[in-house]
Structures are given as C-alpha cells and as structure tokens.
C-alpha cells in the first residue's frame, strides 16, 4: 500500500464541499481540524438543506395535513429510509429518531433494560466504552439490581475475548459494546462477538457513534439487535440521532419518554402506545436536523465506505509512523490494522492540556482530557491524553502540520 491518495478518491474535491475548512486564523493559516471524533464538519449540502427546510416548508412533523406538514413528513421518511439503507436494516420502521447516541442508549437501557432485567442479571460492556454506553447501564443496573461487568483489553489495546466464557454467563441479558473506541480507535469484530452473545442468550447492542462514519455496518449480517449513532459525527447536524432495533425487541420494550405522537389511545387512567418508530418519538422531533441528515448520509454513500476507509487508513498509517518520530510521544492503542482513524497519545513531560493549547496556536484542533472514558484511562494508568481523530476530508499535509506543531510545542515547553 502506498501513502498517496487513491485515484478514485479526490480529497480536494471533498474538501471543497466543506466551507469551514477554508477558515483561516489571524495569520492566514488554514484550520487543521483533527477533532472529528468529537464532531465532524458539515458539507454545503447539509447547510443548504437546513436552510431549505426553514425557507420553504417548515412545520411540525406528523401533525398537519397542509402542504408544509406533508412535505416535512415526506422528507423525514426519506431520511429514515436512507438510514435504513446505510445500515442495511430490514424496514424503515425500525429506525427511530432520537436526539443523539446518548439518548438512544439511555432509551435502550431504560426501555429494554427495565422490561428484562432482574436482580442478579448481568450486563456486559467493554472497559473502553464511552460514558454514554456505560453510565446508562450503571443507572438501570442500580434500578433493577443487575450487575455491570466489563470485557478487558489486551496489552496492545485490542479487545480481549479470552475471558468471554467466564464473563458471558446464563445471567447475561445484554451485551453493549462500541464498534470503534473513541480513544484507542480499536475496532471490534461485531459479527463474531454477536454470534457468541446470541449463543449465550443475550442481546447485542452496538454503540456506532464513532464507527458509523468510517466503516460499513450491516445490522442483519452482523446480527446486531440495537444500533445507535449521532448525526453530527457523520457530517450531519447536531441534535439528531438514531436508534435501530430488531422489530420484536422494539415491540417488547417500553418507551422512555411519554407525550405527543407516541400514543395510540390515551384514557384518564392509562395509555396505549403507537407502533414503532412513533412509540419512541414523543414530542417534537429535531425536524430540520433529521431532514438535513439525509444529504450527509448520501455523501458518505456516494463516496463509499470502501474509498473512505482506504483514504483514512492511509492517513492513519502515515500518522502513526510520523508521530512515533516525535520524542517522548507514546501512541495509545493497537496497530493500525486493528483500529479506525483515531490516534490518541501522551508525551513525556508535557501535559495534554498544554499540548492541546499549544497545538491550537498552530491552528491544529485536537482534543485533550479523558474523552468521556474515565474507566479506560484508569485502566491505562493515565489521567488524560491528546486525541487526533480523522475524517475523510483530512490530508497527509495536515498530519505533517500536526507533527510540526508537536515539535514546536516541545520547544516551547523546553523539552528539547
């Protein structure tokens, strides 16, 4: 494999679709945006679609028979169908709009967990989960008397399934894992894990917040029972997210939020629920956001996951190689073939906070801190790290800028 961008993928053409990437600092230096794991930038198609909704047909969803209302309903269903195609789901009714991954996971934990969990039942996570796929399970465990357990990592940062036999017991009801770690970039073999989870009689939940913008997910082939992701991490608007579920599980679980649109019948003493997805869509949806999510997903489909992965892995490989040449720098997590396009690191003698601050002065945007993964950082024996996370619009030149900025930061901190 070479480091050059492959011929069917023109990163400059993609960059042209993202107006924000042309932003310069006061010295005229272009922004190097490497915090895509936190949130991605938006293409002009998403920005225009948002404007289109507000300028041409905005109304509440599923309420009005008038022209605007019908157009909104149609557009929302188009997004729902696009999500269905993107993750290869069986039907559009299995796609619910939420406010984001966090809401989706809380909805599953409360809505499904409350129905099935009994005292002593077990929920199995991995130690590298984002707090969004950890705290909701702790909460439902406390409410039901269930127990949360964790799959550990190998020393190289890949997921260890050595102890799966002991950790996956007849009491395990739910296994919820990230498809790709937001810190280590570690990817999980979803298909092989789901099979073992199902053999043990548990259900398999995947937090795809990170994975969704990097790799093809097939909820049927990978036998995923619930899948969650956020629009804003796949070039779409913030405020909208997705919960996918297997039809029988969606029927079985309870809604989390009660209110308008999610009901079938309401009586003074009780109510009955509308069928999914309405059952999980109480209140007014993030209307413009959900509609403007579609062009973001279509952009990913047009470029194709294969081409995206090829480009991003080329960035990842050269990034890891070049960063390793920075003195004192230690990359967290596995070799490039076991990870997506995220590189977190620490530097001997430099606090992540100082590094992120100094990189910002070179107009390089990275994140520092525990990245909402305190148990993972505890298991690694560190408080914080710096994270560079890549998107399909990043370039090899930007990696060079990151590396140069790190050398400058070392000088500034008198580390040379």
């Amino acid at each position: 494999m070479n480091n050059a961008t492959t011929s069917d993928f023109d990163v400059q053409l993609i960059r042209e679709q993202f107006p924000i990437l042309r932003q310069q600092d006061k010295r005229g230096k272009q922004v190097v945006f490497l915090d895509n794991g936190a949130s991605t930038q938006k293409p002009v198609s998403v920005i225009q679609k948002t404007t289109e909704v507000y300028e041409q047909y905005y109304a509440n969803a599923y309420r009005g028979v008038y022209q605007f209302g019908q157009k909104v309903d149609d557009e929302l269903e188009l997004t729902r169908r696009t999500v269905q195609q993107l993750i290869r789901a069986e039907t559009p009714e299995q796609i619910s709009f939420t406010s984001g991954t966090t809401m989706s996971l809380n909805l599953i934990a409360q809505g499904y967990g409350r129905v099935v969990l009994k005292p002593g039942d077990e929920i199995l996570l991995t130690i590298m989960e984002h707090h969004a796929n950890l705290v909701p399970w702790q909460m439902i465990a406390r409410q039901t008397g269930a127990v949360v357990k964790y799959l550990p990592l190998h020393p190289d940062g890949t997921l260890s399934t050595n102890q799966l036999d002991q950790l996956l017991t007849e009491r395990t009801r739910i296994v919820s894992v990230t498809g790709m770690s937001n810190v280590l970039g570690t990817v999980v073999d979803l298909k092989s894990l789901s099979r073992q989870v199902h053999d043990a009689g548990a259900i398999f939940v995947v937090d795809a917040a990170q994975l969704i913008s990097h790799a093809q997910i097939d909820v049927v082939a990978d036998e995923i029972d619930f899948l969650t992701f956020s629009g804003h991490k796949i070039y779409g608007p913030s405020g909208v997210g997705i919960m996918y579920g297997k039809a029988e599980l969606l029927d079985r679980m309870e809604p989390l939020l009660g209110g308008g649109h999610m009901i079938d019948q309401v009586f003074p003493d009780h109510s009955t629920w509308a069928p999914p997805p309405a059952k999980f869509e109480a209140g007014t949806l993030p209307i413009a956001q959900a509609i403007a999510l579609r062009p973001a997903l279509e952009l990913v489909q047009t470029i194709g996951y294969e081409a995206i992965a090829r480009h991003e892995h080329s960035l990842l490989r050269s990034g890891m190689e070049k960063l390793q040449q920075v003195p004192g720098l230690k990359i967290l997590g596995p070799a490039s073939e076991h990870r997506g396009a995220i590189i977190s690191f620490t530097m001997e003698g430099a606090h992540p906070q100082d590094l992120a601050f100094l990189l910002n002065r070179a107009n390089v945007c990275v994140r520092h801190g525990h990245h909402c993964t305190m148990p993972l950082h505890q298991s690694l024996g560190i408080d914080a790290s710096v994270r560079a996370s890549f998107a399909f619009y990043n370039t090899h030149e930007e990696i060079d800028e990151l590396v140069a900025a790190l050398f400058e930061a070392r000088k500034r901190l008198r580390l040379n």
Binding site: Q353, D354, F357, G369, L413, R414
Partner: protein, 148 residues
C-alpha cells in the same frame, strides 16, 4: 535544581507582571510569558504531592500547601501543576497572595487582578473553574487561620 518553591526571588512582583503584560499587548505573547513564568516556577517536593494537598476542580493535577508562619502569620504558598500554563497562573496567585496575612488575603479582590491581566481572553470556563478552586483553597486556609 531547587526542590521547593518558597524561594521568593523566582516569583516576580505583581507590578512586574502587569508591566510585562502591558508591554506585550498581544495575547499570544502574554500567554508565552505566562508559560515561561510557569516553566520557571520551582518544583514542589515530591512528598508534598499528596492526595490531601491536591486541588480538585482542575483538568490538570494541582498540589498546593498553604502555611502561615507562626511569628507574623504570613502565608507561605507553595503549589505546582503538571500543566505549564496552570503553573503560570500559580505564579500570578503567588505574586498576589505570598506573605499576606489571613486578613489581607480575605480582603484581596483577586478578580480585579485577573481583570487587570485580561484573563477572560486567555482562559476557558473549565480553566477558570480550576483557578477558582485554587483561590478557594487559599481563602479557606486564611479563614481557618483567622478562626484559630
């Protein structure tokens, strides 16, 4: 290497920090100066980096000791962070509070000093929280010393 930071010579007086900030003008240069102050802050001896001496509410780790000498009841402030910019802020705090009596500490308007330095431009809300945590630590030590 100095292994304790009660050496007052390394801490510039507040007036000198004001003058330097005014001279530099540009916020990038001011931050550079703050980092240099932080890099020159003498290290806290390792046995003082205890859980008890840790200041919470900071993104980085900060350890701080606040002793009042028995004769004049003046503050001997020692602190260190693992982040250099925070060490720069610690130098400002030392310039403001070092050798002050509990009464003087409680009367000191630290926010006026931060405003004078234009800290609003330099600090994120999280970092301001951390800074407030350090200020609170100093003020409650002063309050405690008064109550003794």
């Amino acid at each position: 290497m100095i292994d304790h930071n009660d050496n007052l010579n390394t801490i510039p007086p507040l007036e000198e920090i004001y003058a330097e900030f005014d001279f530099l003008g540009d916020s990038d240069d001011q931050i550079n100066y703050l980092i240099d102050l932080g890099l020159d802050l003498p290290k806290l001896s390792p046995e003082k980096k205890t859980e008890q001496n840790r200041v919470h509410g900071c993104q980085s780790q900060v350890w701080m000791t606040t002793d009042f000498d028995s004769e004049h009841s003046q503050l001997n402030l020692q602190a260190e962070s693992d982040a250099m910019i925070v060490n720069g802020l610690i130098v400002v705090l030392m310039a403001a509070y070092q050798q002050k009596t509990p009464q003087q500490i409680l009367e000191l308007d630290i926010h006026a000093i931060f405003d004078r330095l234009g800290m609003d431009r330099h600090l994120s809300p999280q970092r301001k929280n951390g800074l407030n945590g350090m200020v609170q630590r100093i003020r409650s030590a002063a309050q405690q010393a008064l109550n003794l």
